[in-house]
């Protein structure tokens, strides 16, 4: 139930509000990624992968979109599985997912020979996005998982 609520809200917030914020350094936090991570933290790897996949699919078709469909389905399925499975503690898991997601997206985009994936994208934009997502992570994860039973303790 949480996934049904949290993911669309995060998605709408992302495209309507967050992406328009004039934040310094020209990046924005990725709320959808955090929502997927949060839901997967609660639901475990299998459900996390499924939720991630469908969230990614929605991300791929929600306007405005200009990338190849399936890219975020792939990335978020992997992220959902990873977050649900857990890698070390909770904080480590979230941090790992936040760092890995844009890198995987860049890698898949690179495989598709997406012209937007360049070295400067990796060195300039991805770190900024990762930093903002890290900053937003505690709030979003707390909002999405509060009152829920954790699958594992920190």
């Amino acid at each position: 139930m949480t996934a049904v609520l949290v993911v669309p809200v995060a998605l709408l917030l992302q495209v309507m509000l967050v992406n328009r914020l004039p934040l310094p350094a020209g990046g924005v936090p990725d709320l959808v990624l955090l929502a997927v991570v949060a839901v997967a933290l609660i639901r475990g790897p299998g459900a996390g992968a499924v939720i991630g996949f469908f969230t990614g699919l929605v991300v791929d078709v929600v306007p405005p979109t200009a990338h190849v469909a399936g890219l975020y389905a792939f990335v978020f399925a992997l992220v959902g599985y990873l977050a649900g499975r857990g890698a070390g503690g909770r904080v480590t898991t979230v941090a790992l997912c936040v760092v890995l997601a844009p890198l995987m997206a860049a890698a898949v985009g690179g495989l598709m020979s997406d012209p937007r994936v360049t070295i400067s994208t990796l060195t300039e934009q991805v770190p900024v996005t990762v930093a903002y997502t890290m900053i937003a992570a505690p709030v979003v994860i707390w909002l999405a998982t509060r009152g829920r039973r954790q699958r594992y303790e920190i």
Binding site: M16, G44, P63, V68, G84, R85, M112
Partner: protein, 292 residues
């Protein structure tokens, strides 16, 4: 980790599906079978975005304002400084314009009487404390100003120079209690002496030497002129008689005149460095009101 196997299976399936979608979409391009899906997404979320935009826009504007606050603060500071600068330059311009008008009037008067003047600005004033009514002007011996020269402005006689230094001079005003200037009634030969009275420069006392000569309110005074034009050159308007005292049996008649020059608010003045070749008589007096 108990459902690890199943989860891995799910993940593998999903990743494969994602790769299939990716490939299909990438290969098919425009005619992708995912186009209807995209249209549906566009329809659904586009509507939501449109509806939410009305809510999101003010929030975005607010956050934008917060993000822009430091630079806005700097902008406000810059604009305030610029505003102050412009305002001061505007008032300076206004002051300059007023001074230019005054200077023009003074030069007009000087030209009318044939006086050769050095223009000067009043830079300091000595008022009541010293009992003397004197001002300091910013012209001195370097400009040709000497002691005992007549000082006038665009309206009429102001006073005389009592002390001249290199750059500045001291002028005793007509309203000074110790000042005395020869004056002549307009349109005749009746002469008298103008003294200052303790009226803050609002009134001057005029002693008519011939106690039998007719004098009435509204009669006008011009300077009579001293020997060789020092300290007073002839023909400079002094003032208008406001009241005449009846002094039967006295040797002189006493009247009070309102000076033409506003002796309390002097700014641009002229020092007559050379008097006229001929007495201009009444020519410098302003036109009578109503007369052409």
């Amino acid at each position: 980790m108990r459902d690890s196997r199943q989860a891995r299976l799910i993940l593998g399936t999903l990743l494969a599906a994602a790769l299939v979608i990716l490939t299909v979409d990438h290969r098919a391009g425009e005619s992708s079978p995912l186009t209807p899906l995209r249209s549906a997404g566009a329809w659904l979320f586009g509507a939501a975005e449109e509806a939410g935009g009305a809510v999101a826009r003010p929030v975005g504007g607010f956050l934008h304002a917060i993000a822009a606050a430091p630079s806005a603060q700097a902008d406000i500071e810059r604009l305030k400084a610029e505003n102050a600068r412009l305002r001061s330059s505007l008032s300076a311009d206004r002051l300059d314009a007023a001074r230019a008008a005054e200077l023009k009037r003074m030069l007009g008067l000087a030209g009318l009487g044939g006086y050769k003047v050095v223009s000067a600005n009043v830079i300091a004033r000595r008022g009541q404390p010293g009992f003397e009514d004197a001002v300091q002007i910013d012209a001195g011996t370097d400009d040709g100003v000497r002691t005992d020269m007549t000082v006038l402005n665009g309206d009429g006689l102001v006073g005389r120079v009592v002390h001249a230094s290199a750059r500045t001079s001291t002028v005793v005003l007509l309203s000074d209690l110790a000042s005395a200037a020869g004056a002549r009634l307009e349109g005749g030969q009746e002469i008298g002496v103008v003294h200052g009275v303790a009226e803050n420069g609002r009134l001057l006392q005029f002693k008519l030497l011939d106690s039998t000569a007719p004098i009435e309110r509204g009669a006008r005074l011009v300077s009579f002129g001293s020997h060789r034009g020092a300290p007073y050159v002839p023909g400079v308007p002094i003032g208008v008689i406001e009241q005449v005292e009846s002094t039967p049996g006295q040797l002189v008649r006493i009247a009070y005149a309102r000076p033409y020059a506003d002796l309390t608010a002097l700014d641009v003045v002229g020092v007559v460095v050379q008097g006229p070749a001929r007495d201009p008589r009444d020519a410098v007096l302003p036109r009578r009101e109503g007369a052409r």
